[in-house]
């Protein structure tokens, strides 16, 4: 009787997990309601199941550090560049205040300094460079710091010859930084072009939600694209499409399953087996590299001077030789006092 109350069958089944996707924070409460199947879940049980509903396999959203905790081998994560901070290059203000103010409140609320957490770790014993979105920081929108941290992670992955794993959940480019944000798409993809030329793999995991400038840049320039079940992934947002085309969206539109069906992603990765999937993938690339080294013992990839200037703490001294080559001081970045 009670059981059937919790299992809402038939016509009581909610149609879509449209409600409160953004509001699924696990509170201190003991019980959490699954937004898809409405099941009441014991929060500890949910935690133990990697925040996947044990009844309907709904994947709750994760913060960046929760993801890293779930994926990285214990104690192996070393963060990079956590002290790069955003600025307000446009002097941007909207109806609710300035960007500068918004950054202060977002930083306080999220506990993060930016929307992307980067670093190195091992997964199943394999070394990886990680770049993970935190959707709670301004919808993990991609601005200058997001782009810079991402590119530094890509460059380190290239210099050290370790695979890159990006985990995305983002609304797209950050409007508050205008064209600086749009150009991060070009910047991150250009860095990936070099990573690809160096033969270092990029594995991209798309999670709920992925839109706009992230879907149209680094997140889909990958050797393998994985997506979490049910994740919404697209270029234009569903509401925009509906408003502009006046068409009703097909069922399941822009879900990971929809993308798989249309040939846009390699596979759907269940979170509960994600570590295994990644470990297997990383083993393939590791084995391939080892085999190449056996066939041709000359080092295929020599760390450049760039690597020597990028330290573990993420302190960067003249981090790109090309910067000085170009001869224009453009980066708008204030040099860190550490550099001198």
């Amino acid at each position: 009787m009670v059981r059937s109350f919790f299992h809402r069958h038939g016509k009581f089944q909610p149609v879509a997990p449209d409600d409160g996707r953004a509001e699924q924070k696990i509170p201190d409460d003991l019980w959490v309601k699954c937004p898809r199947c409405q099941e009441l879940l014991y929060s500890k049980q949910l935690e133990q199941n990697a925040r996947v509903c044990p009844k309907c396999a709904y994947h709750f959203r994760l913060r960046a550090r929760e993801r890293i905790f779930l994926l990285a081998d214990d104690g192996t994560f070393h963060e990079w560049d956590k002290d790069i901070a955003p600025r307000d290059p446009l002097g941007f203000a909207d109806g609710s205040g300035t960007y500068a103010e918004k950054l202060v409140t977002t930083r306080r609320k999220s506990g993060e300094t930016e929307a992307l957490v980067t670093g190195r770790a091992t997964i199943g014993g394999h070394r990886v460079a990680l770049a993970v979105c935190d959707f709670d920081f301004l919808g993990a929108s991609m601005g200058s710091v997001f782009g810079e941290k991402l590119v530094r992670a890509i460059e380190r992955a290239g210099d050290r010859n370790i695979p890159l794993l990006t985990i995305s959940a983002s609304g797209g480019a950050r409007m508050h930084e205008g064209m600086f944000s749009l150009m991060q798409m070009a910047k991150s993809v250009a860095a990936l072009a070099r990573l690809g030329n160096a033969g270092v793999p990029h594995i991209s995991l798309l999670t709920d939600p992925c839109y706009g400038g992230v879907t149209a840049s680094y997140a889909t320039v990958a050797d393998v694209i994985l997506a979490e079940p049910g994740a919404l992934i697209g270029f234009a947002g569903p509401r925009v499409i509906e408003q502009i085309t006046k068409q009703k969206l097909p069922e399941g539109f822009q879900t990971a399953e929809f993308l798989l069906q249309h040939g846009m992603i390699d596979l759907i990765a269940e979170r509960t087996s994600l570590r295994t999937t990644l470990t297997t993938l990383l083993a393939h690339y590791g084995r391939a590299a080892d085999h190449q080294a056996m066939l041709n013992p000359a080092p295929r990839h020599r760390p450049s001077e760039v690597a020597l200037t990028l330290t573990e703490q993420g302190v960067v001294a003249a981090h790109v030789p090309a910067l000085s080559l170009a001869g224009r001081s453009v980066s708008h970045a204030e040099p860190s006092p550490h550099h001198e």
Binding site: D83, A85, P86, R87, L90, F92, D94, G95, S144, V145, E148, V151, R174, M175, E177, G178, M179, F180, S181, L182, M183, Q184, M185, A186, K187, V189, A190, A191, A193, G212, G213, T215, A216, S217, A219, T220, G234, F235, A236, V240, I241, I244, T245, L249, F253, Q254, H262, G263, M264, V320, A322, L323, L325, A326, R328, V330, H332, A333, S336, H338
Partner: protein, 305 residues
């Protein structure tokens, strides 16, 4: 709308911005156009379009159709053409003028097959050592169901990747509307130029206002704070030069097209001299410097909080 735009013209023609971002030579007392004024100028239906530039600046244009996969996008066109004494690969967004043409051109909003065609033509250009010249004029990428089904995001991303790695010079000119990712997809260039009344934005001012102000009618305010005008973007060093429009392009098509042609020729010559003349590996240096150019774009603070 066009009444307002016409009112603007006299005020506007007094404000000139130097190619290298020099101070505006204001010769009258009329105010400089606002960002929103420039949005209207950039979208003016009589503004010269990509095909007008191709027609007047090149000869022997052979339009190359199709992405060899799904279709031929009329909103993003391209082909080989003779420009001066070079053959170049021309790419550009094409808006229509009359309603019918606009529908055929999808209002200049490319679908995935447009980006895949552009990518195909860029690869073709690399194969034969043709410089790439692109004309940017789009409200943005097509936001339709079928475009999503066929991978709009991936198509744009792969176009960015192809451009980042191209061993031939790329010169892009924003001639009207530079609409977000749809514009960037043919804009990862060695030299990015903008007409004085063109705009280039991460989102349309209306879209930005709808999201951040919850009111699309606040678009003029959004346009201002988003810093989408050519002089502002030159100051941020996101673009490389502003091509002056002493008279707005829709009233001085011939002069505008000529000025754009001269700017493209200047930058192609400069890139060729700096990288390709007498250096068979110049393409590698070109790519390295293109990376450096994009690598440093951003605004951040290093150091502990």
């Amino acid at each position: 709308m066009s009444d307002q735009v016409d009112d603007l013209v006299s005020a506007h023609s007094t404000a000139l911005i130097g190619v290298n971002g020099g101070p505006p030579a204001v010769t009258g007392t009329a105010p400089r156009p606002t960002a929103w004024d420039r949005v209207k100028l950039a979208r003016h239906p009589e503004r010269p379009r990509t095909l007008d530039y191709i027609e007047r600046l090149t000869t022997g244009f052979i339009e190359m159709h199709g992405d060899r996969s799904a279709g031929d996008d009329q909103a993003l066109i391209g082909g080989m053409a003779q420009f001066g004494d070079r053959t170049v690969m021309v790419l550009g967004h094409q808006k229509g003028r009359a309603t019918n043409e606009n529908i055929a051109r999808n209002f200049g909003m490319p679908r995935p097959e447009g980006y895949r065609k552009a990518e195909r033509l860029m690869t073709h250009a690399a194969k034969f050592g043709l410089p790439v010249v692109s004309f940017i004029d789009t409200p943005g990428a097509d936001p339709g169901i079928s475009s999503e089904e066929r991978g709009q995001g991936v198509a744009i991303a792969e176009s960015l990747l192809t451009m980042a790695d191209l061993p031939v010079p790329l010169v892009a000119v924003v001639i009207g509307e530079g609409g977000s990712g749809g514009a960037l997809a043919i804009g990862v260039a060695d030299r990015l130029l903008m007409l004085e009344n063109a705009i280039y934005a991460v989102a349309s001012p209306e879209g930005c206002a709808a999201i951040l102000w919850k009111d699309a009618a606040k678009a003029p305010e959004a346009a201002e704070t988003m810093r989408i005008t050519a002089p502002e973007l030159l100051r941020f060093e996101i673009i490389d030069a502003v091509i002056p429009e002493p008279t707005p392009a829709h009233l001085a098509a011939e002069a505008t097209i000529k000025a754009v042609g001269a700017a493209i020729a200047h930058h192609l010559d400069a890139l060729e001299s700096a990288y390709l003349r007498g250096d068979p590996r110049g393409g590698d240096r070109l790519r390295a410097d293109r990376y450096a150019k994009f690598r440093r774009i951003g605004s951040w603070r290093d150091g502990p909080f």
